[in-house]
Symmetry: C2
Subunit: 214 residues, 2 copies
């Protein structure tokens, strides 16, 4: 497989974790989101993804977009180890936790949104950082409330092996730290983050370990 991604993109980071957990070898095609006004805006990349976002996963000639869709595809095409529990209620819980991050935090703190705040709405640096941390605090607070004291929470977000929820959580914590977000209020979240990062599949996927990290 081939992954079009950017070392710091947290959606790319999710897919790297997923590929590592499934033990799938892949080639990296780095798309630098800041260089030359953003390589994702090249005509060449438009043919890969009309939405001009990373990640894109190529499975042979077949191109896949949207990180959560890619992860579900990997799980369906390479079932072991599973990213989701077997029963529908557990699967719904894992997906809901993943979507708190993927739908309610990350889209608001994405590079293109931060750029819009600065360029179109003339939001200053400090107000932009407050915005960034606001959505993280709301989302992680909800995750903490949902996971702490819930018997379905285990060593990981759901049970004792990593799922889609952990795959989304870890890159979000990296982002939170980059913007100096206070994380003391989320002890369950952070315990799980540490458990994940002790695994090679998560560690190898982190931004600084990518060949395109400057």
């Amino acid at each position: 497989m081939k992954l079009y991604g950017y070392f710091r993109s947290s959606a790319s980071f999710r897919v790297r974790i997923g590929l590592n957990l499934k033990n799938i070898a892949y080639d990296l095609e780095p798309i630098h989101l800041l260089r030359d006004g953003g390589e994702q805006y090249s005509d060449q990349f438009a043919a890969v993804n009309p939405q001009r976002l990373v990640p894109v996963l190529a499975d042979g000639e077949h191109l896949l977009t949207q990180s959560l869709a890619i992860l579900e595809y990997l799980d369906e095409s390479h079932p072991s180890p599973p990213f989701l529990p077997a029963a529908a209620k557990g699967r719904a819980r894992v997906r809901a936790l993943a979507q708190i991050i993927a739908c309610d935090i990350h889209p608001l703190d994405n590079l293109r949104v931060l750029k819009y705040l600065t360029k179109e709405l003339e939001v200053g640096e400090e107000d932009r950082a407050v915005w960034y941390r606001h959505w993280i605090a709301l989302g992680l607070g909800a995750m903490e409330d949902m996971m702490a004291g819930d018997a379905m929470t285990g060593e990981f977000c759901h049970g004792d092996s990593p799922t889609l929820a952990d795959i989304c959580l870890v890159p979000q914590i990296f982002n939170a730290r980059r913007f100096d977000t206070e994380l003391d209020g989320y002890p369950t979240v952070m315990r799980i983050f540490d458990t994940c990062m002790a695994l090679d599949a998560f560690d190898r996927a982190q931004p600084e370990n990518q060949p395109d990290a400057q």
Copy 2:
């Protein structure tokens, strides 16, 4: 089942369509997002969803959150008619189209985000409307590019029966129209919207047909 929702919430609208397509009867528990500063902020509702967002679906005593997770749950627990095609590549395409809306448009135009723009960043009404339409145009433009001329597009976003992608698309078009978004540039998207709205399951789910619509 019982649905906690709000007539105008597009994530609630998605779940209403899903329940109708699966022919599942449900009771409505209206949560008015504007009345009394927002009923989702009541202590009572915090016990239902710590994230304080609608929709929440109660299947017996079991509470489910996040609209896409709820829809996948409905599809797994009530397989017919399916919301996803059978093969992994088709499933990935449908999920990616759904996520363009659920991850890249809707979170940016959500009520809580519009409120933040107004109250915290003092963004004026016109700039806020431009923001709203900007993310819709980007997302619908990408959907149009991905669907037009793709043989996998049929009467609906994928093939000739409604999927998760159509379920997300329809409420987004309602939102776009509420904010006077120009939609002439998306002929494939709008053809599919019209096809969906001719179905009773979609029509019955629309905001104005809800008992809590004022």
